[in-house]
């Protein structure tokens, strides 16, 4: 399959909906196929790559930190970057600058960057296809 350039825009905040699980499953599939991936993380989704996310134990589950192995989206973003590179693809992950400022989440995992709607515009212009998963 020829390599494609795919743009994604997400809006949901971590830990608030099922949309991001679907998004990461699609991103993983694209990375495994070596496609170039462009992500515009908008509004709540601008916290996906926030570097200070911390996993926690879960007393209701009766599990300590290691046993609970709680997911953080920053780890999923970092794993996506590694997987894409391993398969010859690239990820340009842009965190909406105004959105991260609003939320105080302007520390990102390495390999992602601050940007603006102009990046999203450029992404869509240069991509084979675009998928938007908005907040409902």
């Amino acid at each position: 399959m020829p390599q494609k350039t795919l743009t994604f825009a997400f809006m949901d905040a971590p830990y608030e909906s099922a949309n991001l699980t679907t998004a990461f499953r699609i991103l993983d599939a694209a990375a495994r196929r070596g496609h170039d991936i462009k992500v515009f993380a908008y509004e709540g989704a601008s916290a996906l790559a926030f570097a200070r996310q911390t996993p926690h134990p879960n007393p209701v589950h009766g599990k300590n930190l290691a046993e609970e192995n709680h997911p953080t989206t920053k780890d999923q973003v970092a794993a996506l970057l590694v997987e894409a590179a391993k398969n010859g693809g690239k990820v340009d992950w842009v965190n909406c600058g105004m959105c991260v400022d609003e939320r105080g989440v302007n520390e990102f995992v390495p390999g992602t960057r601050r940007g603006s709607p102009a990046d999203f515009q450029a992404f869509t212009e240069s991509s084979d296809n675009t998928l938007v998963i908005p907040t409902k």
């Binding site: 909906s17 990461f24 990375a31 589950h61 046993e67 192995n69 997987e83």
Partner: protein, 129 residues
């Protein structure tokens, strides 16, 4: 004595993969452990939580793998068996979805929507999640 609290859970599977549970069932369990007196009614799409044997595979992103994917039937059973929280399920919502009562985890109580007003009257707090 704690106020009796009825929790109607309707929103289902919202971020359960990321949280590895349902945030509302988790909250109710934690509040029960803190001395609460809670009851749960599953309605709408949340009736699916009580179906035994369910569970999605954990999320995988490259080499990152989720190891503790949620099991909603296990969490419903935990409310009933370990936390002693009564769990009702609206039988009309089950029927609409073609779910038979023998598919449910043990201990869930069937309830007609016509019986809900009388149930509400037994509680000091009714929360619709």
């Amino acid at each position: 004595m704690a106020k009796k609290s009825l929790n109607i859970v309707e929103s289902a599977y919202r971020a359960v993969m990321e949280e590895q549970d349902d945030t509302i069932l988790w909250l109710i369990a934690a509040m029960q452990d803190a001395g609460g007196a809670h009851t749960v009614v599953l309605r709408g799409n949340a009736v699916n939580y009580a179906i035994g044997g369910q569970g999605a595979p954990g999320l995988t992103v490259g080499e990152w793998k989720q190891t503790q994917a949620p099991k909603m039937d296990r969490d419903v059973a935990d409310l009933i068996e370990n936390r002693k929280i009564p769990v009702f399920i609206v039988e009309e919502d089950l029927a609409e979805r073609g779910i038979d009562s023998d598919e449910l985890v043990p201990g869930v109580k069937l309830l007609s929507c016509r019986a809900l007003p009388a149930l509400f009257a037994e509680y000091e707090i009714v929360s619709h999640w």
